[in-house]
Structures are given as structure tokens and as C-alpha cells.
């Protein structure tokens, strides 16, 4: 049965249909706002109902801790509170920003007591020692000492680097590895620490990387590894990027090392990026080792 389209007297069902925003629920009243007054602990709860953006009814419960702070004021102080303003304070507008409450919360930052500092350095040392044994083998190729220092830090830097033996080692490495694996112990020895040429290849790669390493200084403090990777990638494949971190501030110390796979790429990177303006600082890019040509 067709109902008369009387604009004034539409039934609520028709109204719902006609409305553009079908989810207008203002017809259904919201429950009233409830305030559960401060109890003996000073906890006050306010329960409100409202509509969120999706049009759903939402119950919002706010919990307050009400604390009355009473201060005793001297008689004179109370009197002074009602003094008239004078001097430059007379013509102060209501919205003047002479006095503002800080937006940040400031805390009394406890300083690291000396005892704690010592523990931190001890922990770092222990970690370093662990790293030497467990993860990588810190061996120096120039003087052959293990667990002591990296090649680039070798005190005997002027010893000739071994470049010849590597070419010979490579073809025999497979045989070497096979031979050794038969005589290995019962426990599994991972390839990186197995005796044989594999290790040498590893060091070969690493040493090559050291030679192809460039040092970037005057680096902007918030530069990340990815930024440097992006910056240097156009010159060629990168083997490794190391950004020196400052553990206290979580920023970097302003310098980094980038190791290319190919030396010519590193050279080109130095020539192009030295003096390049990056994030408002002029970069200094040079070989990380003293020029060993």
C-alpha cells in the first residue's frame, strides 16, 4: 500500500531510508554521563557515551586520581596575592606568553654513579672477548697473530701482504676441504672454522675489503647505514657498511667505513664524494688505510 508522501509526517522507517547518512543514530538517545565521585582513595570515574567516526556508540571511561594539595600560606603572602600589578605588568594582555608551563616533563635525571660505569666497561670488554672466540676469528694477516688485533690495526703494518699464495690455494681448496672432513672429529665443525683454504678465502675477501675500504668523516649525526648504502651504491657493489655508533645517544659519531667489492669503485667514490655536501655537512671521503699503493 502506497503511503502518502507527506513531507511533514514521515514514519521513522521512511525517515531512515530518506536520510543520506543512513547511520544517523541521533534518534536513539545516548545513556547519560555518569560520575562516580572520588572514593576514599581519591579515585574518580567518569563514564561517557559518544559516537566515534565510524558511527558506533563508544563508552569512554576516564579514571582520575583526585588529590587535594593544601599549602599553608603566610598571612603576608595571602595579602600580597591581591596586590595590583605595576610596572610593565600593568598592560599585560590575558594571552601573553610571559609565563608558560613547559610542554615537556623534566625529570631530575640521575647520573650514573661511578660503580655502575665500571660495570659497563667490564661488560663491554667481556662481550668483546666473547666475540673473539665465538663469532669471528680476529686474526691479523700481516703478522699472523690471532685473537689480538685486526689487520688494519696491526703494529707491524709494513710487512708485505700475502697476495701470491691465494691464487694457488684456491684450486686446491676443494681437495683440502674434502680431505680434512674425513679426518674431522665426530662433532660438527662449521665451514667457517674448519681448517683449510675456506678460512683463507674468508680472510682473502676480508682483506680485499679492507683494502677497498674508505673512511667517511664529517658525517651528519643522523645518517644511517641505509643512507650511506644509498649514497655509495651507484659506484659499485658494496661489501660492507659500518657506521660508528655512539651508544649513549643512539646517533652515530660522525664517521663511517664503507667497503666496496672492487677497488676501482672505491676510488671513484672517493673522487666523486669527497667534498660532497650531504645533509648540510661537507663529507670527507678518503682511503681508510694509509695509501698502500
Amino acid at each position: 500500500m502506497a503511503t502518502e508522501a507527506d513531507p511533514k509526517k514521515l514514519s521513522w522507517a521512511d525517515q531512515m531510508e530518506n536520510e543520506d547518512n543512513a547511520d544517523d543514530l541521533t534518534l536513539f538517545p545516548l545513556p547519560p554521563r555518569q560520575v562516580i565521585g572520588p572514593d576514599e582513595n581519591g579515585i574518580k570515574k567518569v563514564i561517557e557515551y559518544k559516537f566515534n567516526e565510524a558511527g558506533n556508540m563508544v563508552k569512554v571511561t576516564s579514571t582520575f586520581h583526585v588529590r587535594k594539595v593544601g599549602t599553608k600560606m603566610r598571612k603576608g603572602a595571602i595579602e600580597r596575592r591581591s596586590w595590583a600589578k605595576f610596572g610593565d605588568a600593568v598592560d599585560e594582555e590575558v594571552g601573553s606568553r610571559i609565563t608558560m608551563v613547559s610542554t615537556e616533563e623534566i625529570f631530575l635525571e640521575r647520573s650514573m654513579v661511578k660503580g655502575r660505569e665500571v660495570d659497563e666497561t667490564k661488560a663491554r670488554e667481556a662481550l668483546g672477548r666473547l666475540g673473539k672466540r665465538a663469532g669471528f676469528l680476529m686474526s691479523c694477516r700481516t703478522c699472523g697473530k690471532k685473537y689480538d688485533h685486526f689487520t688494519c690495526r696491526c703494529p707491524y703494518k709494513d710487512l708485505a701482504p700475502q697476495s701470491e699464495p691465494l691464487k694457488h690455494e684456491r684450486p686446491s681448496s676443494e681437495d683440502g676441504a674434502a680431505a680434512f672432513s674425513e679426518t674431522s672429529k665426530n662433532s660438527y665443525v662449521p665451514p667457517s672454522t674448519r681448517e683449510g683454504a675456506k678460512k683463507i678465502i674468508g680472510t682473502d675477501m676480508r682483506r680485499r675489503n679492507e683494502e677497498n675500504s674508505i673512511r667517511v668523516t664529517n658525517l651528519s649525526l643522523d645518517a644511517q647505514e641505509s643512507d650511506l648504502h644509498e649514497l655509495f651504491r651507484p659506484f659499485g657493489p658494496i661489501a660492507r657498511v659500518f657506521v660508528a655508533p655512539d651508544y649513549r645517544t643512539r646517533l652515530n659519531r660522525g664517521f663511517a667505513f664503507v667497503s666496496f667489492v672492487k677497488k676501482e669503485d672505491a676510488e671513484r667514490a672517493i673522487n666523486s664524494l669527497n667534498g660532497y655536501g650531504y645533509d648540510n655537512l661537507i663529507l670527507k671521503v678518503e682511503w681508510s688505510l694509509p695509501r698502500s699503493k
Binding site: 603566610r74 605595576f86 605588568a89 600593568v90 609565563t99 623534566i106 631530575l108 654513579v113
Partner: protein, 326 residues
Amino acid sequence: MRPILMKGHERPLTFLKYNRDGDLLFSCAKDHTPTVWFADNGERLGTYRGHNGAVWTCDVSRDSSRLITGSADQTVKLWNVQTGAQLYTFNFGSPARSVDFAVGDKLAVITTDPFMELTPAIHVKRIARDPNEQTEESVLVIKGPQGRINRAVWGPLNKTIISAGEDAVTRIWDSETGKMLRESDKESGHKKTITSLAKSADGSHFLTGSLDKSAKLWDTRTLTLIKTYVTERPVNAVAMSPLLDHVVLGGGQDASAVTTTDHRAGKFEAKFYDKILQEEIGGVKGHFGPINALAFNPDGKSFSSGGEDGYVRLHHFDPDYFNIKI
């Protein structure tokens, strides 16, 4: 805590002083206009207009009716705290660096800088109850120290005057005769200019802060060195908590360190030390420039700091401040 920032001064702050009841805070700055604020919410009450030079120091009488200020314009002025009206002007031949009311507010000690031919001096002036009867004459003038006398205060019961200054020596003078009674020991004393001095609430000991990056605690009667607090920055301001055994040092930055340090904003801090253990408790950061003035509210529950950045920061302590344990 949420510090209240008060930016009423256009130039660096030089001195901060609370009144005895702890409801008013007086600030002096290089902008010629000392200002008074309400100490609970930092609302500005008024300014004292009249000086023609940087205002280095101020003190307020016990009943908070009179304010005395010393300025680089070679005058010391007496003001009515409530109305801001000038009551009297003392004229000197050189900038006034420090003022202090005596117990009873009948006398004031004023120090003047060395200027041209004038040597630095400590003046004692009588303060009359009625400003109309005020005279210019000095009760006593003490000369002797070389270099600027940055601070001179009254000792217990007004019997002595304690002075400290650019020559890094702390001295105790007899307030009636002007004779020097004691001098701090050269080896144990400060090595560089003493910039600030703060007395304890009961006057039995006082603290001096110096550009040699340390602050020292001395006994008022015997001038023996009790404690030393070491920081990494030259100390510009010192304050002692009247409630807990805490000492606060505020400082600047060595000129040589300016280019090499981290320039993060808001890094200048007021360092808290345990008075007895001499150990650092922590710091309250926030100022954008070296801290030049520190003052504790007499109730010990809040303190304020004034910096080179022209801001006065008023801090009301959180409840856990009072539970700090080393």
C-alpha cells in the same frame, strides 16, 4: 615535574632571590628591569623601572616591603616592593656588584667593582625605616681585595661580612672595625674567580662556586673547608636546599668546549649533589644557555634557575625528589 617558564627578560639573567615567605621571586637581568613574580605559578606581579644599566644583584627585606638592587649604572636603588616606586638611590663611582640586607634590615652591604682608578670596595650603609630620612653616608668602607668582589654577605648576627671574588680568596671581615679576620687557604681554596656564594638556612656554613669547575663548602665561623663538589663546567651559580642536604650548581660552558660539544638544545643543566657525600645525584636539564642564577624557595619544595637565554625556570619538585637515596 613541569617547570614553569618565565620569559620576562630580554637579556641574560644575573640573579634570583626569593622573599622570606617564599611567595615572591625577584629576578635581575641585564635588561635594566628587575621583575617580581609569584613563586607558586610564575605569574608576573610587576617590574621595577629606573635603572640604566644591567642589574647585577638584589635583596629583599624580611617583611617583603623593601627591595634593594645593585646595577652597572653605578647606583644602588631602594624600592617599594608593592608599588614599584623608587625610594632612594645610592650613587657610587663604579658598578655595584652585590647587595645584601643585614638581619633586621637596618644595614646593607654593597660591593663595587674596580673601575678606572677606583679600587673595589665593600660598603656598609645604614637603611632607615623612613625613606625620607635615608642618607648616603657609609657606616664602613672596606678595601683590600684585588679584583672584582662578586659577592659579599652578612655573617651570623651581623658580626661579620663574608666576601668572595675574582682573586679566588674568601675573606671574613669584622663588620664594626672593617679588619680582616680570616682568609681562605690558597692551596685548598678556589683556583679561579669565585662567581657565587650561598649561605645555609641557619648561616653556619656557606657555599662558594667558582670558574675552576668546583664548588666548596666552608664553615662560617672558622672558614675551614668542609666539602668540595667537582663538575665539568665552570660554576656560575650555587644554591643550597633548606630542606634536604642537597647542593645545586649551575654553570656555563668553557669557551674552548663550545665547538666540540654536542649542541643538543636544552642541554644546560642544574646539577644536584649530595651535600655530605659530595656525590652527584643528577641534573635538571632545560636551559638553552649557561645557568647564571639559582635560588631555592625557603620551603625547599621548589627552586628556580635563570639562564643566559633570558628564561627563568621555576620547578616544583615531584614527591619522589624527597625520597632520593644515593
